[in-house]
Symmetry: C2
Subunit: 203 residues, 2 copies
DNA sequence: TCTACTTTTGACCACCTGGTTAAACTATTT
DNA sequence: AAATAGTTTAACCAGGTGGTCAAAAGTAGA
């Protein structure tokens, strides 16, 4: 049945993402994924022939979750400050709803950097666009001059890092889960606030 | 001999850190570590009984590389702005000289969060000190009010994240290795600059 | 040289892993 | 109801893994 097909397939993909995220590619066991999906191990190989193929399927699904929104914001014709605000909001909200995404992607960074970079390229991010916008607004005195590389890195760092380092931050600063969620929610405004203050001319 | 003892032991530790960092705990093979150290696999188990023990030895070594400097800065009696500058400088320089540290620590975050948090606690970081300093300086009008959690998170995020996401950043922004090193060097001043601007009152 | 010791090695093993296979089950079509 | 095609399973396998062990090689003192 096409219906139960997609059900089983989706169930597998969901369990796979879960296990791959928690354990990493090498730590993940096909058996564990099968158990989590409530199916036989051989069925995994029936739908996704190998562990690699299964991982790749999960990976692509994850990328589609991450890129489209961010790219459309980055390339929309709005001022830099507005982009900063929108990206902070969108990025953090997305990570809040899929807290394991950051860890999953990071695992893949150290496992297979090339492929990830290729996917980034194919995703259609044109860094020149944002670079020229920043220098343009700087020339017009709207923002303080800054290299696009640093601004974007600052923005992404502050959005993503807390999700990667979550256990450490919670432990270090003595937050429980609720406090951490509150903390993350606050960052939606703290991050743009920080960056925009640092970029506003005329001190 | 105590001398060749320590040589072999150190060689093992070095190779272990290398392999563990590249492959993660699960991906690392005892055989590969032995090969890299130029010794027999059984010798690994002679010095460090199990894979876990070996990892733990590497882990402690890494922690000792990271913490002491940062902690002494955090708890020294200097203004917040100065702390921001010194930590950026020290942290980035340390990561520049040991670029794989960040990845190693992160791997451990997702493998065994509890132990890492415990080590952080035992390292003697007293978050209350920095918290009270920030609220004190804010009350005196030296800095804009901000939650210590956010300031510290911003600082650490911007310092550490580029080392974790290095391949992606290089690919996305079209940097070669030399350009990336230059980029990292610049961040020693960009990060404190960004934060201090955002914290300076009286706009 | 002999002895007691630590260090190093090759051979080995029990176990686990990803992957296969052939058979059983289900549903759809004729 | 028979044939066909797609789905699910239990049993199995070859290869790789961490870990062991007994013996060899090296070392130092008497």
């Amino acid at each position: 049945m096409t219906d139960s097909d997609k059900n089983t397939e989706k169930t597998i993909l969901l369990s796979a993402r879960k296990i791959f995220t928690i354990k990493g590619f090498d730590g993940a066991r096909m058996q564990e994924i099968a158990d989590d999906a409530g199916i036989n191990k051989a069925l995994l190989h029936y739908y996704y022939r190998t562990k690699d193929k299964l991982f790749e399927a999960v990976f692509k699904e994850v990328l589609n979750l991450i890129f489209p929104k961010i790219i459309s914001i980055l390339q929309s014709p709005i001022p830099v400050f507005e982009k900063i605000e929108k990206i902070s909001l969108t990025y953090i909200e997305m990570l809040k709803q899929n807290p394991d995404l950051a860890i999953f992607v990071f695992h893949e960074i150290s496992r297979n950097p090339r492929r990830l970079v290729e996917n980034f390229r194919n995703a259609g991010i044109d860094f020149e666009i944002i670079r020229s916008q920043i220098s343009l607004e700087a020339a017009r005195g709207i923002i303080v001059p800054i290299k696009a590389e640093h601004l974007i890195t600052n923005l992404i760092s502050m959005c993503v890092f807390p999700f990667i380092a979550k256990p450490v931050l919670k432990g270090m600063m003595g937050m429980d889960e609720e406090a951490f969620q509150q903390f993350i929610e606050e960052r939606k405004s703290v991050i743009p606030h920080t960056l925009i203050l640092s970029l506003t001319p005329d001190k």
